[in-house]
Symmetry: C2
Subunit: 349 residues, 2 copies
């Protein structure tokens, strides 16, 4: 069984403004250390003995993706989406590409913008997931929640299928706070948005539930242009694929769903509090990147790409200095950054 | 009676970091509008029909002082102090210079870093002060306190001397908070640090209480170099003057002290809260200079010399973006900025 890593690297992420900008999506930013989460995702594969990674990205991001991969010694195949159409068409196109190359190949589908604390635990879970995938399952990585977050999908594991892998009994996307609390108490798992599946299995399941998506993605690969290192999906064909996530297109319907119990520290780096949580706090709970003078500052996130930040007497605050913008915002209101970022984007147009 | 305005323009002001820096003292910054407080001080004289202004400043600030004065159409005489030695020697040197020019001349001694809301009220008080000064009094401008500040001197007015002018019964510098409250209730006045006196009267009083200061300042003027527009005080002579404020050197001892009741809005722009108070607040009490996006922000001071500042859900905060530094600090802790500014200055050395 050959394992083909596919990294979905076409997203944006307005909630990390002012670090993430329209021309500089969050997966390319060094948010938790010297490397970007895209680079960390590639480096994490080293322990798996996997095939050449495939990176699905947009035309405007391809050069950055290639350069960042090269900087960590990886030369991936680039699958260029003519336009972003959510994760379903991207996964299907990757599956069609892999299926033509390796009819029984297993895909490890990974987000480029996640943080994982322990690469060795990730590799162990990925191996177990790949085994179950090889046997025909579409396996998602389930993580033990550390809080009743309402932004994730919750999985109730059912029957044990193999070591560490269970059938999915029910899957509920984004519950309300009360339900989320109950789910955490019941031992349901977060759906991390990373998957393992056989290329042919994904395409067959998609053909059953979203035939237009499967057809469009396969046609976009057949009519793609480019050489071995870069494959440009055919724009006309790809545009026919409904823009839906793989969760809605396949996971909600398939009887093949399974979950691998993963025990690594995980974050989708969704907003500034996640960046703080993924960092190394000092004795006062502050996570600092760049030069800062802090007097009586607690549990805050300070990031600056140049100017000195001096802060006095604040708690739980995000102070982000990036290029031509400065953000000051309580970490517990960091979701509201999205609205500001979108306003500014609209103004630039 | 000729009135000679003397503007003391040699200070620094570390509490307005990061706007004020060692090479860019606060009197030269546009803190309350398009002009600096030094420029506002010169412009305020227009209504007085006074003589050519005299600006006492340091060698490193002389060019900036001349340029800023020129920008508002004023060409002052520059009296260059070889080193900063507090306000006593500066006032004495100005007095010695004016006395040689105009033996009965009256000096209006003004700080370059104060904000005054109503120039016409200032001019009225200055005229009354100058009349009393001409009759031999050393007149300070007394202001009705709007809070029990502990950072100022408090004056208890005594016998009425002339229109708006009273003898000083007692003067107490920087009381504790309880005493300050009592003083405000008793109707004592703040000493604003601006004065009117005859040049010869100040020198005579100083000769009585601080003879070394008077002698050194007079010698520094006699041995000064330069032409009509710029006078460089003699370094050896000036260095002999004890470095004391005019308050300690003369006002605490003299029997000639008087106070003019002034009713203009006044601020010494001492720290960031004073800059907020002197500005035009929006409907949420925010004073904003530069480009900002504010969401649920109240009673805050936002200043930026370029980058966009986005703030969400903060109250009573100072956010100051200036050159290579960013300050975030509750306005009620803005005094602590001084310590950071001094640390940074020490590091630069």
């Amino acid at each position: 069984m050959a394992l083909h890593p596919v990294v979905l690297c076409g997203g944006f992420g307005t909630r990390l403004w002012p670090a993430s900008r329209p021309g500089r999506p969050k997966q390319f930013l060094p948010l938790t250390g010297p490397n970007s989460s895209f680079q960390e995702t590639l480096l994490r594969l080293a322990g798996l003995g996997a095939e050449r990674p495939i990176v699905v990205t947009g035309p405007a991001m391809a050069d950055e993706a290639r350069a960042q991969a090269k900087a960590v010694g990886v030369e991936p195949v680039l699958l260029i989406e003519p336009e972003p159409r959510n994760s379903g068409p991207a996964a299907a196109a990757a599956a069609a590409y892999v299926k033509a190359l390796d009819p029984e190949g297993v895909i490890l589908l990974l987000a480029a913008d996640h943080h994982i604390g322990e690469p060795e635990k990730f590799c162990k879970a990925a191996r177990l997931a790949a085994q179950a995938a090889s046997a025909g399952r579409i396996v998602t990585f389930g993580l033990k929640p550390d809080r009743p977050a309402t932004g994730y999908g919750y999985i109730l594991p059912g029957e044990r299928l193999s070591e560490g892998v269970f059938a999915v009994q029910t899957f509920v996307e984004k519950p309300d706070p009360e339900t989320a609390k109950r789910y955490v108490a019941e031992g349901r798992l977060w759906n991390s948005g990373n998957f393992a599946f056989r290329a042919d299995v994904l395409l067959a399941e998609m053909a059953a539930f979203e035939p237009a998506m499967a057809e469009a993605a396969e046609a976009a690969v057949r009519a793609a242009s480019g050489d071995g290192g870069v494959l440009r999906l055919d724009p006309q064909a790809f545009a026919r694929a409904p823009a839906k996530s793989i969760d809605y297109a396949v996971m909600e319907h398939t009887k093949c769903a399974a979950v691998v119990m993963a025990d690594f520290t995980w974050s989708d780096l969704g907003a500034w509090p996640a960046i703080r949580d993924a960092g190394e706090p000092d004795a006062n709970g502050n996570v600092v990147t760049g030069e800062a003078r802090l007097v009586d500052v607690k549990n805050s996130l300070i990031r600056t790409d140049g100017p000195l930040v001096a802060a006095i007497g604040v708690e739980g605050l995000a102070i982000i200095v990036d290029g031509d913008a400065v953000l000051v915002c309580p970490l517990d209101r960091a979701e509201e950054v999205k609205a500001i970022a979108e306003q500014l984007k609209a103004r630039e147009r």
